[in-house]
Assembly symmetry: C2
Homo-oligomer: 107 residues x 2
DNA sequence: ACAAGTAGGTACAATTTGGTACCCTATAGA
DNA sequence: TCTATAGGGTACCAAATTGTACCTACTTGT
């Protein structure tokens, strides 16, 4: 991910810092329909390694875009869902998806 | 910039690959109102070095998000503007900006 | 004569990001 | 007993990205 500049003066910069990174957009997108467990995300986000998934969801949690809920069970269960702030991003990501689809079709 | 994966199966991924990177969002945003010259961009995109500006605009040009026009004059003159494809991204970036502003205000 | 404004280019170094391999706990099932 | 599954952690390494410093050519202004 792009290094967080705590004094980002530009809101465009600020926003891109929070959803930049190789997997963040996809993770947010896949969470749009509700709650997902760690293993589900790992299966659906193609190519992601456990390390990167953990790292990425932790960053999203720190930025308060998702909520991470740990159940103290064995075997462990951890659920992820969008926060209210995170949900606000979904329409934009949807626009990006539509744009991306059109571009991909044009190639 | 995130490495381009030519076989990006996911349109969300595809889109983020094209506007990821430390300065791309801001450059596109600053070009929304029309044509800008290299030097103008350098002044307005705070913190960017000449090398990164050149590199970034070339990548945006390759991805057909901006159009680069060189005038064979001395001193040199190079103008940048959004392509039609690039213009389509502006509403999205604008929403990101609004979201970013709100978040920044909440901190 | 010399600096500044143009729009860069290049080599190298530093930083950031991502990947590999291996480790953990505890339980259910064969 | 051995394996699989859950959701990770950690050390080390490789790759990608960004930054630093210095260079180019040509013209106008002082």
């Amino acid at each position: 991910m792009i290094k967080k500049n705590k004094t980002a003066y530009c809101p465009v910069d600020y926003a891109f810092q929070r959803i930049g990174g190789k997997y963040k957009g996809r993770i947010l997108w896949y969470l749009k329909d509700g709650i997902m467990r760690y293993g589900e995300l790992k299966r659906i986000v193609e190519g992601i390694t456990p390390k990167m998934l953990t790292q990425t969801v932790r960053e999203l949690e720190e930025d308060k875009l998702i909520i991470r809920k740990v159940y103290k069970e064995v075997p462990p269960r951890v659920e992820y869902r969008l926060s209210e702030t995170g949900k606000e991003l979904i329409p934009f990501i949807d626009q990006m998806r539509i744009w991306g689809e059109r571009q991909m079709a044009m190639e």
